[in-house]
């Protein structure tokens, strides 16, 4: 059971309060119609899926109902930080 700190509520709560929203820092293309099929497919479906440090979005579904980012190790499941959308992570690692 993960204990996730919500930076909006400023409290660590159990993972069942949240829902996972996938890899963070994927920017929606500003002009989708100008992209090739490869670029659009890459944006929609292809992910880095690292074993190790991962930046991901979570949604506090039964709390404040707001999004935020988490840096988590996908091998040990250790949560290294929570930070607001728009901020950059303090912890970055070589992704493998």
């Amino acid at each position: 059971m993960l204990l996730i700190h919500c930076p909006h509520c400023r409290e660590a709560r159990e993972e069942e309060e949240y829902s996972y929203r996938g890899e963070a820092h994927i920017v929606r293309p500003l002009a989708p119609e100008s992209l090739s099929d490869e670029e659009w497919g890459d944006y929609l479906f292809f992910r880095s899926n690292p074993k190790g440090i991962h930046h991901e979005m979570w949604y506090h579904a039964v709390g404040c109902r707001r999004y935020f980012n988490v840096t988590r190790d996908t091998l040990t499941y250790e949560i290294l930080e929570s930070y607001l959308i728009g901020q950059q992570p303090a912890v970055t690692g070589a992704t493998s």
Partner: protein
């Protein structure tokens, strides 16, 4: 390879079973191979077997970081069926089911394939509509299946609770009589023994750490035992596919997540079929040893930790107790997780890549075990001929650019 038979059993009994031939060799890697299969699980070993058997290649190695069949092959719930909705997926899984039906004879190895039937329960009106649609689609594809009433469900699995007073009453089910289970370890061991006898080198305790390329083509793999050259590299590393792809500078449309299962203490025979429920979310069968084998849902977030969230197991056990009130008194023995590559459309990737001579077979998500023979068969053909096997043509990486996804989230068995 010496053939297993009643005669060989008798002969070896006379020498107290001390002179059985080793099941496979333990070779030191050569410096160069025609094809290297990365990953010695069921799918990888099946790929190597069919490359040797059907395509006549013998200079093949399977490189496995741990031991053969020690990953997801050893961690699944052994359910086999082919009742998928869409033509592409149904035909791929049906090829697999047909191969299962002759597999023990083909390999001269008892994979304990048991066609005990698979029930997929419906608990809502919409479930039943989906079941009708899927069974009709299956029958058009020549796959057995029928829609059955709650009373028939009760006849097939007498311990099940079909009371209308349940929280989610059973309104019916689809039943595929040709579905069932097999012994998961035996499948890997049978293919390993068969491949070894055809000259394939099975190299265990050796991890691939890099994929060496030259002018956009594969030239070999870096391993913990040094560089090994290869003209073709076929990656079948479920769970770690993205990690291996990254070695060649590629990204895949998969996310790795833990999928859990648990088994009970052994009990007397009480369930001679497979029962799955999408809506209350659990699936159960009884092994020949007597354990109740229970499968759970997949975690919602990425993880490589081979363990899952506790609340997922809790939810699964609630579902099983709802379906089978008698099982509420059964004690659970072990629980574990395996890392599955989940694809956006719940269908696998069997594909060439942008690197010449590099192939991937991954993304089987929560249901790869049932596909082991078919997956190996079409992937071997794809690798040998450097073009997709007709049944694998719809499962290339290109579908994520063209948008021709094959949405099997419904028939994949459990919601995820």
């Amino acid at each position: 390879m010496k053939k297993y038979s009643a005669f060989s059993l008798l002969k070896n009994a006379l020498s107290y079973h001390e002179n059985w031939q080793k099941v496979w060799r333990n070779p030191t890697p050569k410096s160069d191979y025609d094809v290297i299969v990365v990953g010695g699980g069921g799918h990888g070993l099946a790929t190597a077997y069919y490359l040797a058997k059907v395509h006549g290649l013998t200079n093949i190695a399977v490189i496995e970081k741990g031991y053969l069949g020690g990953g997801n092959t050893a961690r699944n719930t052994t359910i086999i069926r082919s009742n998928y909705l869409w033509d592409e997926a149904a035909q791929l899984y049906e090829l697999s089911l047909k191969l299962w039906e002759g597999l023990s004879q083909e390999l001269n190895y008892n994979v304990m394939f048991s066609q005990r039937g698979v029930l997929n329960l419906g608990h809502t009106l919409q479930d039943m509509r989906d079941i009708e649609r899927r069974v009709n689609a299956n029958r058009l594809n020549g796959i057995d299946g029928e829609v059955v009433s709650p009373q028939r469900v009760k006849e097939i699995a007498p311990l099940i609770n079909i009371s209308a007073d349940s929280r989610y009453p059973i309104l019916g089910a689809s039943f595929q009589p040709r579905g069932g289970t097999a012994r998961h370890d035996a499948v890997a061991w049978g293919y390993a023994r068969g491949a070894d006898a055809l000259g394939v080198d099975l190299i265990q305790q050796t991890e691939v750490t890099g994929i060496r390329r030259q002018d956009g083509a594969v030239v070999g793999v870096e391993t913990t035992k040094g560089f090994i050259g290869a003209r073709k590299v076929a990656c079948v590393t479920a769970g770690n596919s993205s990690v291996v792809a990254a070695m060649a500078g590629l990204r895949l449309p998969v996310e790795s997540r833990p999928l859990q299962a648990l088994v009970s203490e052994p009990v007397k025979p009480c369930l001679d079929t497979v029962v799955m429920s999408n809506a209350v979310h659990g699936y159960i069968s009884q092994s020949d040893k007597g354990d109740l084998v229970i499968g759970a849902g997949v975690d919602s977030y990425n993880g490589y930790g081979q363990r899952g969230s506790f609340h997922i197991v809790e939810h699964t056990v609630q579902a099983i107790c709802e379906l089978f009130p008698a099982f509420s008194r059964v004690r659970m023995n072990r629980q574990w997780g395996g890392i599955v590559d989940t694809c956006p459309d719940a269908c696998p990737i069997i594909s060439k890549t942008s690197v010449d001579g590099l192939y991937f077979n991954c993304g089987w998500g929560t249901g790869g075990f049932k596909a082991t023979p078919g997956s190996g068969y079409v992937f071997a053909d794809t690798v040998a001929n450097d073009r997709p096997h007709p049944l694998a043509a719809a499962f290339t990486l290109d579908r994520f650019n063209s948008g021709a996804l094959i949405d099997e989230h419904g028939a994949a068995g459990v919601a995820h």
